[in-house]
Amino acid sequence: MPSDPAVRIKDLRIALPPGGERAYAVDGISFDLAPGEIVCVVGESGSGKSMCAHALMGLLPDSVTTETGEIALEGCNLLALDADRWRDLRGRRIAMVFQEPMTALNPLMRIGEQMMEMFEAHGLLSPRERRQKALGLAREVGLPDPARIVRAYPHQLSGGQRQRAMIAMALALEPAVLVADEPTTALDVTTQAQILKLIRDLQRSRNMAVMFITHDFGVVADIADRVVVLRHGQIVEQGSAQAVLIRPQHAYTKALLAAVPSMTPPPRSPLIDRNKAVDVIGIDKTYVTSGGWFRPDRTVQAASEVSFAILKGETLGLVGESGSGKSSVARLVMRLIEADRGTIRIGEVDLTQLEGKALRDQRRRIQMIFQDPFASLNPRRKVGQIISDGPIAHGTDPKLARQRARDLLGMVGLDGGAMERYPHEFSGGQRQRIGIARALALDPEILVADEAVSALDVSVQAQVLNLLEDLKTRLGLSMLFITHDLRVAAQICDRIAVMQRGVIVELKTTATLFAAPEHPYTRELLAAVPGQHRPVSLSA
């Protein structure tokens, strides 16, 4: 499309406050945004991609300074503007959509009022006209029952609905440029698919230039016209989506693409003649919030008649979206929360019948790896203590336990010096490895990984997944792997159970599930995973 670029960024350099990890958040970046084009800016955490977006809107935090460079919007240099000119531009010519729709909306104002603010900020239209416009916008972004939504408060809407409302707000004044900062990262995969389609449709119908920040290459494959790859504040590669995704030039781009798990499950030998490591039978769990004396209680069914078995050496995946109950099931199996009904057997032992010391003794057979690498380690205890605490509690000699901790750290790829350090001195991926070492310290038979890689960058994620697979094979473990990411599930699970609203809707071997899904929800889930319909390299 040989038209003048809507936005031209040239040699942008944004300096971070002194004493940080590096000198520049963004170090000499140049690229263009053309009307009618979606440019995806991809990178891992800390690549500077979010700073780009904020720079374009003039919303950089006070602590950073723009050293050099120029951002030209339809000819005029944005970095030379004063506050009043910026305010005039914002919303009218260039608009932004943020990542977390819950915190990006004022919780005390109605949705409609927040939409109408867009017009009010630029002194346009009468109040009645603004209200009409707000309704029209709500309809355009596909919000159900616009009249009701417009009068609702943010906390009354779902995540997807809030994001639609934010998009409506951004488009109210028909800007030429839309900046979207990870707008779908916080959403479920099915909702994400809908929002991506919405953005694509709106962008096409209005011929906007869109800068779309993301870390997910699947999303890039689905909607990008051009791609810019960032690393440590510098552009590593840029070009058309076809070029970058199918024929990546730079080693970093190649590594990132290789780290994205494929949607095609690898062939796995069937597990026969194995004993059951875990047998879960008929688990029920309902959460009740009392309504007081005059109102009925509110009930949420976290698990309903959930049953499955994991064979020795098998990895069973539990996939679902938020609210599916998969995390609750993980905690029920670990007896971190008590089931209302049902049995959990580990080998021959009925875990649900045990209490007190008997329960604590059996706990060593099934261990957990948690999701949040920052919250799963006690910040006040040294790493060596964290790992050896478990065995010491079960009677192991402290010296032996510490030796074992050292060995385990080696097994997960960290050096022995880590024993004397505190968790905050390690990166997210390293902390997750420490978590794995802690889980292995008790010689468990079963590992429960609750979204263990969801909080990690994609390259780190690949490393940790490889580590888990390796350890599992070496130590003969069984694993219950909980995730919302179907790509990850495809790669490491033998069988997969799909959960929706507390019920297992389908449980099949991985290959069968992906090749011929039966339940409509499974089909919907599989179809929603981004990056399947475009370039070959992501489906290979």
């Binding site: 919250a375 380690l377 910040p379 605490d389 509690a393 310290a441």
Partner: protein, 279 residues
């Protein structure tokens, strides 16, 4: 520990508070030995203005007693009462809050109703009633202040324990088979401690204010001289002898201010470390 002092030193107001506190404690402990005048003895003529005689630098009161001596001995009472009653309130509030937060359910409900009940009663009014009924003495004052001060502690500890209980590293401890007692002691309390320490320093300040208010109203221990009592005694003669009310009041102000500053300094010092740890 070294990091802690570094943080504190970066906070000038916290340092000022600390200096004030050290001076106050020093005066309270060593004062009576350095300035041996008894506050009860008549040493000069009544209503001697301050800054006129070097042996009674802050003047005398209606009965010719040394105001400065009164302030030194008063420091003992106020600081002691403040400290002991806070410790007593902590002794009640911390276990209550920890148990309520950790075990949840009906125990939590019952304990919280109990705490709420005490929080609804106007604290100063209850303190007055308690001291009046139990007859004013240093013991009844300490007891009353402790009784009206423990609810916020219990609430805070309960809140911290609740949030910590669902923290993933606590769940990891449960999963690796630790006993409840071990978990509360090793995982929960060390992380819940810093807000409690901050609250404790602010509580000592409030306790001193409460004690002085009670003494002002005449509910102080009749055998002990305290700052509040001096202000109360000087009230009727304020037109002739302003110094009897001004100086003890200033002493209260400065001590409480010092404690508040230390509390805030502690808050700043203890929190950023945790924030850094968490990220």
């Amino acid at each position: 520990m070294k990091q802690f002092w570094k943080q504190m030193s970066r906070n000038p107001s916290g340092l000022i508070g600390l200096i004030i506190l050290v001076i106050a404690v020093f005066l309270a402990v060593a004062g009576p030995m350095v300035f041996p005048n008894s506050p009860w003895r008549m040493v000069q003529r009544p209503f001697l203005p301050p800054f006129t005689l070097s042996s009674v630098p802050l003047g005398t009161d209606a009965l010719g007693r040394d105001v400065f001596a009164g302030m030194i001995y008063g420091a003992r009472v106020s600081l002691l009462v403040g400290l002991v009653s806070t410790l007593a309130a902590l002794a009640i509030g911390v276990p209550l809050g920890a148990i309520a937060g950790y075990f949840g359910g009906r125990i939590d409900d019952a304990l919280m109703r109990f705490t709420e009940f005490f929080q609804t009663i106007p604290s100063f009014a209850l303190a007055i009633v308690l001291v009046a009924i139990l007859q004013p003495s240093i013991y009844s004052i300490v007891a009353s202040i402790a009784i009206v001060s423990w609810p916020p502690v219990a609430r805070l500890v309960r809140g911290e324990v609740l949030s910590l209980r669902s923290r993933e590293y606590v769940q990891a401890a449960i999963v690796t088979g630790q006993t409840s007692r071990w978990i509360i002691w090793h995982e929960i309390l060390p992380n819940a401690l810093s807000p409690v320490i901050v609250l404790a320093s602010l509580m000592v300040a409030t306790a001193i204010l409460l004690e002085s208010s009670l003494s002002f109203l005449g509910l102080g221990d009749p055998n002990l001289i305290s700052w509040g009592y001096m202000v109360g005694a000087g009230r009727t003669v304020i037109r002739q002898a302003w110094w009897i009310t001004v100086f003890p009041g200033l002493a209260i102000l400065i001590s409480v201010l010092g404690l508040n500053l230390v509390g805030e300094g502690l808050n700043d010092a203890l929190n950023p470390r945790l924030a850094r740890d968490g990220r």
